[in-house]
Symmetry: C4
Subunit: 230 residues, 4 copies
């Protein structure tokens, strides 16, 4: 069932490790089959070295395991909540990549300090508010999707393809799981550059809205001039 998609999700998970974003089992990638409303996701706690395509778990949007001999990632509920909240998403990635996690732990959004950032994220990478004591008590996995959605009340998720969950780490996404991995790599590099930027100049401000728009729209949307016409 869904063998091609399992292979694709497997490869996306492996790519996370190759790009240096995860050690041990610290990350997961998923993709949704939009027609069948089924999500393929990494099994929980299996080291990348032992992972195979066949181990990928198929769940429905309620979290029921439809196929698979393994328990899905403990972050599955967050993935599912994001697919439900943002129907335009095709793939989602979660990591504990060092610099993005540091911003998440610091509970600070990453300001847009330059063109590298503006090329991929249309504005700051938001950091969620911390969960309340009560939300934690109820279910911190269950409430995480909600606080992420709060951040995107006035943003389009594909224009800002990632978020920092306070005291946790980054989630990123895209049209499919490979684009979600790409955005995870970009986000980690932006987080790294941004830390060094504020260390060099603690007074520095975000770039003006006009430059942000020029840069972002050069690469995205119908008037993009970047890349090849396919």
């Amino acid at each position: 069932m869904l063998m091609d998609l399992k292979k694709k999700v497997y490869e996306a998970n492996i790519e996370l490790q190759k790009k240096g974003l995860v050690i041990y089992t610290w990350g997961n990638a998923s993709e949704i089959d939009q027609k069948k409303k089924l999500v393929i996701i990494k099994p929980s706690g299996v080291p990348y070295e032992k992972l195979t395509s066949e181990m990928m778990v198929v769940v429905d949007l309620n979290g029921q395991i439809i196929e698979g001999n393994y328990r899905p990632s403990v972050d599955t509920k967050i993935h599912l909540d994001l697919y439900k909240a943002f129907p335009e998403l095709g793939g989602i990635v979660h990591t504990h990549s060092t610099y993005a996690t540091a911003w998440a732990q610091a509970q600070k959004s990453i300001p847009c300090f330059g063109g590298t950032h503006a090329d991929y994220f249309f504005g700051e990478v938001p950091c969620t508010r911390p969960l309340t004591e009560q939300e934690v008590e109820e279910s911190f996995e269950g409430e995480t999707g909600k606080v992420i959605a709060e951040c995107f009340a006035t943003k389009k998720p594909l224009d800002v393809p990632g978020v920092l969950v306070a005291s946790h780490g980054p989630f990123s996404w895209g049209k499919d799981c490979h684009q979600a991995v790409f955005n995870a790599v970009v986000l980690e590099e932006l987080a790294r550059m941004a830390l060094f930027t504020i260390q060099i100049n603690p007074e520095i401000q975000s770039i003006p809205q006009s430059l942000l728009e020029k840069r972002y729209l050069r690469k995205h949307g119908k008037d993009a001039t970047y890349g090849q016409i396919i």
Copy 2:
């Protein structure tokens, strides 16, 4: 004698180097055979390139060499004192990994700033008090076990599987030497993330106790939901 365990301890020592935690001879791993009360440990000052399983040294809990043609690690007394103070430990690792050592040199415990930390360490990674002038005079290796034990007066060592020895560096442990290596890698990454976290937000506080408990108990204890049921 104990050939399997020697091989295991040898592999754990090699793993320290592969994971980038040690250069030259700057680290050592050991494991205890709980029935025979014998400890297998790396020989002193032998470069990892020249190390073999056969070179591992067998000592008893008094530090007497039971088998081996090499002198054991100069840190052997600290390992033995930890095995004696914390009978639940099966393996111990010491390194001079860069970021964990920096926190130890700074004489600061690593606060729990997020889920990555809370998944493996149930609260801050404590830093010992500095040795007194008199303790140094007597024997700094001899007194190190004592100041570590002081830190764990109210903690369970397997819940907080590592410590920073002030002005020295990290020790970590686990049920066996491989888990001790795993915790050494985790500790180094937590130390790195924590430095960047305070650089981004010097005012940031530890996560609340309720979140710490939720995260830690998701991965540990009888109600854990993480990973596969074996």
Copy 3:
């Protein structure tokens, strides 16, 4: 057409990736054929893994594509403006290398803190002023060459073979594209060292002019003593 030069420019682009200065498509190298007034440059948005010599694009100084099946880099106008403003340049490189980009985002010139810097850059690596709102509106790629040229009103471009474009990233150059790559690597390392230098001593000043001259002229100009006489 210009097959040798295409191969050379291809190799320079690949070298950027090998040296760790670019991820994905985040960089470009070009060289000018001074007799024909034609510039060879990387195609836009093509990943380094898929790049071949044949894909290199030939443009004239007005940006007209003379040969090639691909659209040239979106930064082509900046390269052309620099070749026109500084006729002594033979090759140009643009990257988003982490530390140099951080200085550019911080909108700070890199002071000359020591011999490593003075050996290759005769004084600070200047950071351009930010573009005005109006310049951004008109064309940020179009105006970038202009603000770079402003920085070099009183400098010789081959004596200071690189610049930071505010809120964007570094450009470097040389007598050919390989020297431009070399200077991009040097610039990134200087940016890294300079950040650590001000972290260790925020009060530190640039080296005096006399030392700058001694160091730089040891390696450059008719009285150079460095290297071999060829």
Copy 4:
């Protein structure tokens, strides 16, 4: 002539690159033949990829080339001055390794913050005073040996096997060129750890003299307990 020693010095130079201490031509290693009073040193400006044993240059203590088809390193005079000032040295290394150079550029000695440092350097790694305007005018290479020697008026060079030259970078040494390389690697790691240490705790002080002595003498001198008895 001195083929074995040339090979050894060649290997030491290559090791500098393997250990990540040098890029391009940014470093040099030498060794002295104490009987013949001849020094073997790397040729100037030759990339490591093209280096061979045969290219090593033989000079006498006055800097006269005794054998070799290449010009010796521009830093040769500094090496020679150190061999003359400190007759106990057998090998010398100079690099522009990132963190040690940052401390040199910051014009700060590296305090001894812990055991890693104390195991190899008996006290702080001193930073020379800056050269005066007049010294620079005369000859900055010529005066560098002098300001290094000033730092060691009350230190034994083999107990503190390295120095930071202000606004320049590190020199290290040992009984032969391999030990000098070893100390260059150690110095770079100490410089890195020390930066992170002061970032975590800007108030931190050097370790007390008693601990410094215990640590250092555990590894050095007639009562050393570290390593194997050979």
